[in-house]
Symmetry: C2
């Protein structure tokens, strides 16, 4: 990079000299200017402007023990996490909220194993004030690592650890998967469907389990043959659909645990000559713009506001960080469950 011998950035000292005041005064002005008289403030501001002074974050962090950065940790054992827009939307929400509070977003991707260890070291290293963790699977060690590192954490999605105490102390943000699933199934019922099947997500993921539970809430009688497990990919959805058609050739309603799987199911239904929604009504989950609106026919689905969930995660963590400095014990913060909403299009 052709940078002219990188003009050494001005320091507090330089600004102080220029404004004819002490370092302390400049520091006060830079940090809000409370307790400094008007004319002086103006003089310092001018000096800052002229010199193009920007505070050195490292020096600041060294003394304040605050670095204005939040880690977003993503466990990505499969690449699925990255081929589906779910993650990206959530990150966008997080980024918005963080930026609004002048916090930086440090992205940590981990494939498990040695990577996890690296992440653990990083968190322990005190590089960040807090962490936002996405771990897909129930048994993931990431949240535990963060806890050990003593880093305040908010989890994306309901964690499923057995220890109730750990569970209580863990903040998370999730959508109302179970309620959303109930709405989906009720929609199929309202359309008069009699033989409704479910394409579930991988059942080691809490979201999948919750959606299945919602399905069962409304249809307590249905047996295992009416349920097939997919893997949140179109292929998985397609295969599940094939199995279900084999087992229940007369099915007339499908609730898929994700839009992406629903799109695979639609393909299979079409190739089998079943008309949607006339012969078989299909409801998805997520309301992923790029998927739900562009299937054929457009998908009726359960909408969750993914970006908002990201925003809320960041907000919750920021609050936790603030109240942490309270000397008097635990803050009254709790996890958040966001509502879902049925979006009716053509498939059901």
């Amino acid at each position: 990079m052709p940078v002219p011998p990188s003009a050494p950035r001005p320091t507090l000292e330089a600004v102080a000299a220029r404004a004819g005041v002490s370092r302390a005064t400049v520091s006060r002005v830079v940090n809000g200017g409370a307790g400094v008289r008007g004319p002086l403030v103006a003089r310092v501001r001018a000096a800052v402007e002229e010199l193009g002074y920007v505070p050195n974050q490292a020096a600041r962090t060294l003394v304040t023990r605050r670095n204005g950065a939040i880690a977003v940790v993503v466990a990505e054992p499969e690449s699925r996490f990255f081929t589906d827009p779910f993650f990206a939307q959530q990150v966008r929400g997080i980024s918005r909220e963080l930026a609004a509070h002048d916090n930086q977003l440090v992205l940590l991707l981990t494939g498990g194993g040695a990577d996890h260890e690296r992440v653990g070291r990083y968190l322990t290293g005190g590089h960040v004030d807090g962490a936002l963790i996405f771990s897909l699977h129930a048994d993931d060690s990431l949240p535990v690592i963060a806890r050990k590192a003593g880093v305040p954490t908010v989890i994306g999605g309901r964690p499923t650890w057995p220890d109730p105490d750990a569970r209580r102390r863990t903040l998370y943000v999730d959508c109302d998967n179970r309620g959303g699933a109930r709405d989906a199934v009720r929609r199929l019922l309202a359309l008069g469907r009699q033989r409704i099947v479910h394409i579930a997500g991988p059942l080691d993921q809490p979201a999948s389990v919750d959606r299945l539970d919602g399905f069962r809430d409304v249809l307590p009688g249905v047996g295992a043959p009416m349920i097939a497990e997919g893997d949140f990919t179109p292929e998985g959805g397609a295969r599940a659909m094939e199995r279900l058609l084999e087992r229940s050739p007369d099915l007339d309603g499908v609730f898929a645990a994700s839009d992406v799987m629903a799109s695979g199911a639609l393909r299979v239904l079409r190739s089998r000559g079943r008309r949607v929604p006339d012969d078989v009504a299909v409801v998805g989950f997520d309301d992923m713009v790029s998927v739900a609106e562009w299937t054929d026919p457009p998908l009726t689905t359960v909408r969750q506001d993914i970006e908002e969930m990201g925003r809320l995660m960041a907000q919750l963590l920021l609050h936790a960080l603030e109240s942490e400095s309270d000397p008097d014990g635990l803050p009254a913060l709790s996890s958040i469950i966001t509502p879902t909403r049925l979006v009716v299009r053509d498939s059901a």
Copy 2:
């Protein structure tokens, strides 16, 4: 967060005391241990282990002027950038490379305007050693901002600024859009197609222009009516396809500048009763797994290795950073154009 009065993290000093050596020696050991005798190294290592010492990054940065962090700046005026997996894949490649060299990834999302200014301040603040910038449109100010901030930068995709000098000094990574487009069109030609049309991307983006140029390289004679501009969305692809069908009802080959647009085009062709590839052959661009393999029929397309491009961006920047410290002028680094490859499936 219920953290026990956060046990103060051990410092170098503490480790030194425990190992019975000086701070300097501990520092040497922590940083590789060169020039320290074996037994001492072992003693220090043991002390580090026992105390669970982790270096304080802020303090280190303060003196080394290196912070081991790279900014990834994403201009995201539309949300498109985030609903399409392109970005995510690239980030994954970047993350891999950065992690392998113990650099952190700071994600900066900007919607333009005031956000850009915030990003500029951040870069100027010296929080990061370098920046990787994705700006979609030709006129985006981000690269200029980075240059002003004096931060070494690598751009994702060929930048299009008029000043040839600025262009020469700018490092970027892009795929061979033009060559890939030529391959796509040649494929259609090889299939004996006579009336080939092009669905272009937004022509304010270099990638779109390059792909169009490639199309014209092979088919210099085709007129404007055979080309329609889309916007890299399925809808845009569909609308472009409709226009083209109107203008050239006898078309028998389509080269779409992206898989996503191709998927929209396929929809329209199907609904018009044209068989693919029998009546109309279609070639896309990108080889986006979640799209190309799951269209109906699966898409013949031009593959670009997006993740690899991300990796190369990070690598290039890291190299630039290293050689920057060379006193003797500019390093012999240059931008990278990655090859593309035609992937033949069923649509052409």
